[in-house]
Point group: C2
Chain length 480, copies 2
């Protein structure tokens, strides 16, 4: 209560008309005092966490096609209107896949029926095919690399192929969580498709991510065009290791039942909320996250926190009554997790609008403390961005790092078209402990960390929208 009152008081203070300050005057292009005020107000933010709590507690999981995602779209649109933004829905069809029964038991070990209960913990991968309703039984082939799969290609016929590739937590601990995810993630992204081509009957992948709590980590897998999806699931790390140990000692059979369903594409939408620019309203800085989530948890860190931190940019500027030169456009993307249709629909619509997208920011790497800014820009643009991390130095978000690739999957089409792309740099050491699991819940979000994300995004978005001259366009590599 007192914090809110104090913030409201702040918002009523007069301040300098920053538009009057420009690079040409010899003063900084954007007034550091204004950036500081944005930072400080954002660091008192209660709005983003409150809305995240409502999203995750009262709505819950938000997979494409679900009633949860529909409810979330309605709610975030209403919240942005209440803040004072101009809100529109941007309809798009999205894939509709639903999890069904998922069980697996070791039924044969070393050539004999176990007669025992050794249940495996697993979760179907998004877009997995189904087994027969009463399941299938097959011997397992455990591999530890794609090279091993190739070498044992003939053995895969008729088998359940198990990929047991561990996640390298050391990389994550050292600030390379994305790299660790990309490395171990190969088995999930393309393992099932590869195994299917060799005649396997199903694929089980070790969960991507660390933390050993018998927790399966779901996620998308990729099929070739025209390929029929095979039954594919993520095993808890413990279960992948168990099958590996058992298979080393003799033949192992698993009875596997997966009954997910592919349904017709569903209606969905991006929520687009504008904070109109005072000089060039047609030119836009995009700041967004994705509203959809996987179905196992409540998507608090992936990406409830990110989308609410991005929404908090407009809420912060509204509180301060601050309109930068250009428009800041918040986008709550739909269907990031299993299709990317939201990002595609946004790009298609933006391409038809007058004006240009001068920058795009995506926040989708959890809810850790903000450490700075990642910028996919030309190297000679980096100097101009130092004012952002300087303004953030009192909260420790001082790192400014240049990237040469895509920094967010929803803004990928924008980045590939030449738009400078940004993402906050977050503490992601433990992101992949919870990512895509049932344990992605509100309690994983520290409100103070979320405030640091709001502050980082707000200072960055305001700066990019306020700079007298927009940053140069850039050519980036098509990899994350």
């Amino acid at each position: 209560m007192s914090i809110r009152f104090w913030i409201l008081s702040l918002a009523l203070l007069p301040f300098f008309p920053v538009a009057a300050l420009g690079a040409a005057s010899g003063q900084p292009a954007v007034d550091p005092a204004v950036l500081g005020r944005i930072r400080d107000v954002a660091m008192q933010d209660v709005w983003a966490y409150q809305h995240l709590a409502e999203l995750t507690d009262e709505i819950g999981p938000r997979l494409s096609g679900s009633t949860g995602l529909e409810a979330a779209i309605v709610r975030i649109a209403a919240a942005m209107k209440e803040v004072g933004a101009t809100v529109a829905l941007q309809p798009t069809k999205v894939p509709h896949w639903e999890r069904g029964v998922e069980t697996a038991d070791v039924v044969e070990f070393a050539g004999r029926s176990t007669g025992l209960n050794q249940h495996l913990h697993l979760a179907a991968l998004g877009d997995s095919g189904a087994t027969p309703a009463n399941g299938l039984t097959a011997r397992v082939l455990v591999v530890h690399s794609f090279e091993e799969l190739s070498a044992r290609a003939k053995d895969a016929q008729g088998k359940i192929v198990v990929f047991n590739m561990p996640f390298d937590q050391r990389l994550a601990d050292n600030g390379y969580a994305g790299e660790a995810y990309g490395q171990a993630g190969e088995e999930r992204f393309v393992g099932p498709s590869a195994a299917s081509k060799l005649g396997a009957v199903a694929t089980l992948v070790r969960s991507v991510g660390d933390a050993q709590y018998r927790l399966p980590h779901t996620g998308a897998t990729e099929w070739d065009a025209g390929q029929t999806p095979m039954p594919a699931a993520a095993l808890a790390a413990e279960d992948a290791q168990l099958l590996d140990r058992l298979a080393a000692a003799g033949p192992v059979s698993v009875h596997l039942t997966l009954t997910p369903r592919h349904l017709p594409d569903a209606e969905s939408a991006n929520v687009v909320a504008e904070w109109v620019g005072r000089e060039h309203p047609e030119d836009v800085v995009v700041v967004g996250g994705h509203l959809d989530s996987w179905d196992l948890g409540t998507g608090a860190i992936d990406d409830g926190a990110g989308v609410m931190a991005a929404a908090g940019v407009i809420e912060t500027l509204a509180r301060l009554g601050l309109h930068p030169r250009r428009t800041i456009r918040f986008v709550a993307f739909t269907n990031e997790e299993n299709g990317g249709r939201g990002g595609q629909a946004y790009f298609a619509a933006a391409s038809k609008q007058p004006g240009k997208t001068v920058a795009a920011i995506e926040c989708d790497l959890g809810a850790g403390r903000a450490l700075g800014v990642q910028a996919a820009v030309n190297s000679n643009s980096m100097e101009k961005l130092k004012a952002v991390t300087q303004a953030l130095s009192p909260i420790g978000a001082t790192v400014l790092v240049r990237r040469e690739g895509v920094v967010g999957s929803d803004i990928r089409p924008l980045q590939l078209s030449g738009v400078p792309g940004f993402a906050p740099l977050l503490d992601a050491r433990h992101y992949f402990d919870y990512h895509h699991t049932a344990a992605d819940t509100l309690d994983k979000v520290d409100p103070e960390n979320l405030r640091s994300e709001v502050a980082t995004l707000a200072v960055l978005a305001y700066y990019l929208a306020e700079m007298p001259e927009a940053l140069a366009r850039v050519t980036v590599k098509d990899e994350e």
Copy 2:
């Protein structure tokens, strides 16, 4: 291979006939060089881990009445015979309770149907009653203490009572894991019985233990004599917190289905394996752990590691060809988790045998590194035990701590009858992260830590069986 060869070579070395050394001679009561040799051989042990791996991988969960427990009894008896011990089964009936369907969903929030998917993660408590087959729906009453339950006694009528008492991980981190378990465990031990008396229709308790991975921790709950068991389950910590937050904002209803079954008592047995004493074979040092486990995981740390470390005492002495003055009796207790019938049956049988039990050691606090020895003995016996921790100092198990209560639930009847009781002191900081959960699996056991347990138990058991005079009997408090 080379390790095993080295151990075999060691076993062939001649050594001093330690029986010739005694306190009266002015030399130590038990030759420190022999204790050192036991320690060193145990620290090379591969037998205990190998048998633990077979128990957990090839057999799996071992709840009383299950085929898993039956298979485990056969296997450990065979293993002890192979080592050279004299093996007998000690039959006893055990309770037979089986988990069924267990689901729970939030179906009403703030007075309106949610229409959304907010599934709770839970596991029935052992001895829980069942709901109707199609479940029951009721409003929840969340309480944070037994005082609050008493104050809101009238509100409990017809409700699902939810106990949300957090586990104090700081206590566990500081070496008081047992105290943290006892404190938070009250809600599980007696909460359902208390709520049932107030007219509640079911009870959900927050899982006892830390680690936030949406993991329910099962365990036993206690009913008064003649009380009909009500439906009772442990919620994942996340779900207890969710219900607490939702209930703070308005009425919440949950649809709960639990269909466990109570079956007639099953046949089971303790496995008793003797390593016969050379001077007083009728006098016995008991060293044991429990062979049964909860049904969610494979009972690697509770108590596969403990029972195999205890079995490793005889295996180590057999490898060295060492028989102390008195008999060392390994006991693989049955039914520790949900009845304690194994400990009772052992005590009843021992009471009818000639000779006396001079000490009892139980190993049932996980698979952490051994830090020393806990002794429930008279204070003037403590001096005599220093030789044990001195012999263990090269492996860091140097702490010798006196306890005034019961140090193991299976040896409780022995301790209450006056027998000095012992337990290894283990690093249990993370024991309750996994205890009674699906994540209690082999990968949680570091083979080196298990060796430190074997070494601690072997040195302690040998010393107690070899001392010229047995320790004085002791009166302990009936609390753990």
